[in-house]
Amino acid sequence: MRTVLSRPLSTAGPHPPAGEARPPSRGAAQGDRAGRRETGALARRLAIGLAAIAAVGLLPTQGLYWLALGNQSAIAAISAMGLTVLVGTAGLLSLGQAAFLAIGGFTAALLVIHMGFGFLGAMAAGGVVAGLAGALVAAATARTVGIYLAVGTLALQYVVEIVLSDVEVQLTSGMGFQMPVAQVLGVELTSEEDWWYFLCLMTFLVWFVLRAIVRGQPGRTWVCMKENATVAGSLGIPVRRARMAAFALSSLVAGAVGVVHGFYMGTVQITNYSLHLSIVYLTIAVLGRLGSIGGAIWAAAVITVLPQALNGFMRALGFDLIAFGAGLEDVVLGLILAMILLEAPRRLWARIRPGRPA
């Protein structure tokens, strides 16, 4: 009866009794897959790890174009990892992840240009400010259910765009803040390759830390809160605080990525952090399976490369899609989001090969 035991609610209490049998998966969020994991889990993990190391090592040999795509994927992956914890594990829908990137980026720009902060210092400051903003949004919407949170974060996205574009116009006459070269412990990040290694390291660290948090007590609290907030409250879980913590963590990650993004691009401009970007991150989180932190990494790569691949494919067929610009990308993103939400691939598979689990 392991599958029953590993259902999220039954193991997600804040303090499971010492004698209770725990499923081998340890992960409360990934509980229902415990049974499948037992066989060949180690081999699979080993394979994924080796593939990841190979990808990190081999990409720099593929030229600047792919390296730039890799860097963009890594930035998207880190933001989406933060989002997938919030939406998937804690069940709080956010449409404002890009707003937190913007808050982090602008904080860093002001600190670096006017107060002489370094890269890592700015990253910490940007993360903290964005995290506080996230906690504030969570506090403001503390009395309502998840659906209001979607509206609240969407509103935040709009208000951040309006206010920060005003800041940009006032301080840089709309040119955007020019960022200096990033320096990490004395090493300057100048080429795409430097950034690639730094971003891979950051992706790994964020993945590791988030995974530890989600598998630990906070993650269990969030899963319980997601399943039923009332039950969670009656079990003694401080729901409001847990909610604020989930939001703060997710936006802290986003803020830090915003700083990295600003340094990587060389400029901080509000047009880089539109609602479109928030939807991109949401699509990545959904594609990688909501709540799966590792899933966000490969999904980010897919979503980043997809528009390019689509363009190349259509050009090979004789169509030029550049004319359609961002419109086509929006359509494809929307279709992916809708299809994954409706589990279209699984349903299709069930129709092609009835009786076989996908």
Binding site: A142, G152, V239, R240, A326, L328
Partner: protein, 287 residues
């Protein structure tokens, strides 16, 4: 307060009211918060301006064509959310409407590539209490009010409205009483699509046909929340309050900051009274 200011408040209030009514209608029926209605309205306004301008159709004919397209999209969304998406709950349904909004915006961008066009429904000026007011504004106001009132009458006075309210109350109970829930939901989506079309065309006619027109979606949702999200009357009152606040900021502060008003209103209402201004609290589960 002068007449022209009052009229512009009422005009944007009537646009918001039409859209907020649509939001409330759908939310009551299946607990899905719709995010794509403003985008649908933008699509309809682009269609209408293209047909009436370049293709040379008359205004009513191009309006009907735009409405037909918007209704077809609404049927698709109904199938997507209520049939395919039903097993996954209203959370997924809400995100599905966001996805549809993104697809619509992408299509609009691909076809019209962000063009901004003027669309006037009626030329000239009309005297209202001795002050000349643009006839276009009055026509928009009339259309949106008419659509909103018509939907209110349908919900409150017709047999169909009674079944809508039954579905809103409890879908399974309604099904047991012989109401065809799926058909009622389809009607709800069609009505909301029509309201979204009229509101979108109205907004486009008041300002311009542009992709930025999709911003009114947030205002409408805020107006609906202000009214309690399940109350049709509350949605109208919320719309008037919101339009009043926005116009005050436009006149006395800075037009650019008018979009901040709905957001400030939203945060205030979420902190102080999440159930909205009306007394109905059935849908808001407090944590």
């Amino acid at each position: 307060m002068n007449v022209s200011l009052l009229v512009s408040i009422l005009a944007s209030a009537s646009v918001y009211a039409a859209l907020a009514t649509a939001v409330v209608l759908v939310y009551r029926a299946n607990r899905v918060l719709v995010f794509h209605l403003a985008e649908l309205g933008v699509l309809a306004s682009y269609l209408m301006v293209t047909l009436s301008g370049e293709a040379g159709w008359s205004l009513p004919a191009s309006f009907l064509a735009a409405l037909a397209v918007a209704l077809a999209v609404s049927v698709l969304v109904h199938v997507l959310v209520d049939h395919w998406g039903r097993p996954f709950g209203h959370f997924v349904g809400t995100v599905l409407t966001i996805a549809v909004g993104g697809i619509l915006m992408g299509l609009i961008g691909m076809i019209w590539s962000g063009r901004t066009v003027r669309m006037i429904l009626a030329e000239g000026r009309t005297d209202v209490f001795g002050e000349p007011i643009s006839t276009n504004t009055l026509v928009v106001m009339g259309l949106c009010c008419l659509a909103t009132v018509a939907v209110h009458l349908v919900v409150n006075r017709s047999r169909l409205g009674i079944s809508m309210r039954a579905v809103a109350n409890s879908a399974s109970l309604a099904r047991h009483r012989g109401i065809q829930v799926s058909r009622v939901l389809l009607v709800v989506w069609l009505l909301s699509g029509a309201l979204g079309t009229i509101a979108g065309i109205g907004m486009a006619s008041l300002s311009a046909v542009a992709m930025e027109g999709a911003v009114i979606g947030v205002s409408a949702i805020v107006a609906a929340i202000l009214g309690g999200l399940t109350s049709l009357g509350g949605a109208i009152i919320g719309s008037i309050l919101l339009a009043f606040g926005e116009q005050m900021v436009i006149v006395y502060v800075d037009p650019r900051y008018s979009q901040v008003v709905p957001i400030l209103v939203l945060f205030t209402i979420l902190v102080i009274r999440p159930s909205g201004l009306s007394g109905r609290t059935e849908s808001v589960v407090r944590v």
